[in-house]
């Protein structure tokens, strides 16, 4: 319990340093652009691949579990669409990104810590927490909503291609289904969740990396902890945000 409270306290203290006034805006801008490429653009591939296949599987499972003459087949498209928008493209993609981006952030910052690069920044009089972490937070918070949109689109396309190829639904029914009773607020809900999850992934992982002590073994442990802690926090906030936003 003491360790949890101590970790929680150091997390908030670190955030206080991260959001202090930046020293030189041009340097932060340059760093943010680098992070947008490293953490954002380089995640498009994995998000696209996973979303395509998950969209396909969601469509097939919906089809096989609703094989009943009472249900119109276009409901398969509707079910796939809502599953993808409400849960898959925000929460599941966030969990995947916690693995990819979170471990990347923790190991990068952890390595900077054990190789004294953070000490070098501090010695120059630079707020190392802000200089290293803030661009990562800004980059993920800005870019992850785009990843969610890409995931939604790819997931629905995956469901359409595989659903029609497997013969579980016709193209017309699927397209009718994904348009039927569409609630635009679901997209907003998904994007709001994504912003929160992006913040959790970047800050929780950065906190684990920033406080590494030791060597490569500890960096590896910090990377694992970053994924576990961000995933658990994401799932917790998923419940809270769903209750707040959809009730």
């Amino acid at each position: 319990m003491f360790r949890f409270l101590s970790g929680f306290g150091s997390y908030w203290m670190l955030l206080g340093r991260v959001f202090a006034k930046p020293e030189k805006h041009s340097m932060y801008y340059r760093q943010t652009m680098k992070e947008l490429v490293s953490l954002g653009l380089r995640s498009i591939g994995i998000v696209t691949i996973i979303s395509f296949f998950m969209g396909a599987v969601i469509t097939l499972q919906t089809a096989y579990n609703t094989e009943n003459p009472i249900y119109p087949t276009y409901l398969i498209g509707l079910g796939a669409r809502d599953s993808i928008i409400l849960e898959f493209s925000s929460t599941i993609v966030a969990l995947i990104l916690a693995g990819k981006v979170g471990s990347n952030i923790a190991s990068e910052i952890g390595t900077m810590r054990v190789t004294e690069q953070i000490d070098a920044l501090e010695l120059m009089g630079i707020n190392s927490a802000s200089y290293i972490i803030l661009p990562k937070v800004v980059a993920t918070v800005i870019f992850n909503p785009f990843l969610t949109l890409i995931s939604i689109i790819t997931g629905i396309i995956g469901g359409w291609i595989v659903g029609t190829s497997a013969g579980v639904i016709t193209s017309q029914d699927y397209i009718y289904g994904i348009q039927y009773a569409f609630i635009p607020y679901y997209i907003t809900y998904s994007l709001i969740k994504t912003v929160f999850f992006a913040f959790i992934i970047s800050t929780v992982s950065a906190h684990q990396g920033y406080h590494v002590e030791g060597g490569s073994l500890e960096v590896g442990r910090a990377s694992t902890k970053a994924v576990v802690y961000s995933s658990v926090t994401i799932l917790l906030f998923n419940v809270i945000l769903t209750q707040l936003l959809l009730s």
Binding site: K24, K34, M112, E116, Q117, D119, A120, M124, G125
Partner: protein, 251 residues
Amino acid sequence: MIRAEHISKSFGDRRVLTDISAVFEPGKTNLIIGKSGSGKTVFLKCLVGLLDVDEGEIYYNDVPFTRLDFRGKKELRQKMGMLFQGSALFDSMTVEENVRFPLDMFTGMSYPEKLDRVNFCLDRVNIVNSNRLFPSELSGGMKKRVAIARAIALKPRFLFCDEPNSGLDPKTSIVIDELIREITVELNMTTIVNTHDMNSVMENGEKIIFIEEGEKCWEGNRNEILKSDCSKLNDFVFANSLARQLKDSSK
């Protein structure tokens, strides 16, 4: 000049430094020597403010560093340069970007001016045609020299070197030692070097402090070190058989 007065530091129940006082003079290469784990690096990190001291005061030209607020420390730190044990170059930046980094952060210089200064510093440490290389493409000695170039980019008044020869062959170690000594005189810096390399001690030791188990045991210079009657220092200095033979033959 840097003056440390009665510095003590503990980590939990473990006392690492006990009541260390010392004066480090400008234009000289001041050495802190001692065995591994004796508290040299902790003392150096206390001097630069990377660790807070439990007791004692540190003065930079009579400015009480330990009592300065964040802004005051930040201003003073721009007058410090440090060469870390593992060089601590930024992996994601090229050699040029590493050396330019403090200039980007703290000066309003134009790009050509910064480039001139970067090339001057790299030239001074004998690094040529390597501006576009990344730290992973450099040898250990080159990394140290680039780190020195970065440390002197802002023309510091104080230079700190934590074991500059660790992991280097004897010849490269001598090159690094000479470079540190020359730069110290050129820029009239107060330089403090942590080392357990006896070659460095005999070449650079204008002022030497010996630390053993967190306490200052001896203070002097390279001429006095061989004649000291401090048993702990003698155990350290004459640890290898060659040094013992030299001592015996000089008697």
